[in-house]
Symmetry: C2
Subunit: 238 residues, 2 copies
């Protein structure tokens, strides 16, 4: 059986070193963008339009869109709501188009769109996503959104869990050191995932702002079977 | 006691997110640039002039300098020798100025020179270096040279060992997830460091080229008490 290459990119700053027009890219931003996107589709959102800048988000609000937008955890003043998955309720999002802009998670999507497919990953959809990826017969690059171009523990551990499953499928091989590091971190974290995440900087940042109520939820496995995918600049589901 | 901040930058691609004009920067490129630089100073080199491009190295050769230069492990045709620490013998380097250009390790030095001090780290000088760093009373950023902007396991584990010692000194604190990841990787690797390094991509690349004879040496602790430092674009010792 031909094995496809598996890579992990720990920070968007290094994305161009991993980019490949033939690859499937998985974007992970556990706290909180990709957990929120999975939640929104589980709750029936029609599409999500990721925008990189505050100006774009503001312009889309003026055009009548429902807008979710935050920077450093804080809701932007013109936005309808921010970046907590608990904001994306069926009451708010079902059947709607939502414009979405976050500190780290949405900016990398546009850059990744040069690749074959861009899908959204989190703990919430990890099984359905890994099963789908394993069937694609393509190189896979898992991109951690991180925090302001830095490495984030919560994204790296989730990437490590995905990589472990993909390698166990026998369909992938790797010569990428990030994969070895992330799978080892997952091995250390797996027996007490939330306990391990206590040391994540983003965990502290969210706690300091009173925004950490969603952390246990964002580390739940297989809450949904949606796979958000970027097509023509918009997220829909496969 | 005031504690200073400790950070690790896993790839030069993310350096600007960590750069700080007040910080001491430690550059690590275990396989092989910073191991070779430490060896060269242990063997009496007078100074090392790191240059980023092949063209600069070639121009310096034309001006009569002794030149060590490689790309992807291969010695450049005009160079006197390449990037193995075994090239930097007392017979070749004692009392000399050496121009040095490598795939990953030398390019980051110029960018890091905006910081307060830039020092060169490896397993070969880990104890003397950590003791010196702990006395500086400054923020510290350990930069892994990596491989073509990617994460490298051998640099991350060495950074984790340094960070473990610095945190144990009680003089540092951290809110940097890379530090947590690297110290955990070091914890996994420490009982069998060379065995753990078997999975490093650079280990395979060097083996494929017959250049892996130096790997056990590059993972020896405390072979020397030199601390190479970048001053005015040249490496000398503290």
């Amino acid at each position: 059986m031909t094995q496809n290459s598996l890579e992990i990119c720990f920070t968007p700053a290094a994305f161009e070193a991993h980019a490949d027009s033939e690859a499937v890219v998985v974007i992970i931003d556990v706290l909180r963008a990709t957990s929120s996107i999975c939640t929104a589709f589980a709750n029936g959102v029609r599409e999500i339009i990721p925008v990189e800048t505050v100006e774009e988000a503001r312009a889309m609000k003026a055009r009548g869109y429902l807008v979710a937008a935050e920077r450093d955890g804080y809701v932007l003043d013109f936005a309808d709501f921010g970046n907590s998955p608990f904001n994306f309720t069926p009451e708010k999002v079902k059947g709607r188009s939502v414009v979405y802009s976050t500190t780290n998670g949405t900016g990398i999507m546009k850059r990744a769109s040069v690749c074959h497919d861009v899908v959204i990953g989190s703990w919430l959809n990890i099984s359905v996503l890994c099963n789908w990826i394993a069937e694609q017969g393509r190189k896979v690059v898992i991109v951690c959104a991180g925090w302001k171009k830095r490495f984030s523990l919560e994204d790296a551990v989730c990437a490590g869990a995905m990589a472990t499953r993909l390698l166990e499928s026998g369909k992938f091989c790797t010569i990428c050191d990030s994969v070895h590091a992330a799978t080892d971190l997952w091995m250390m974290a797996r027996t007490d995932l939330l306990g391990y995440m206590e040391k994540a900087a983003q965990r502290s940042r969210l706690r300091d702002k009173g925004l950490d109520d969603c952390i246990p939820y964002c580390h739940k496995f297989d809450v949904t079977d949606v796979i958000p995918v970027l097509r023509g600049g918009r997220l829909t589901t496969l």
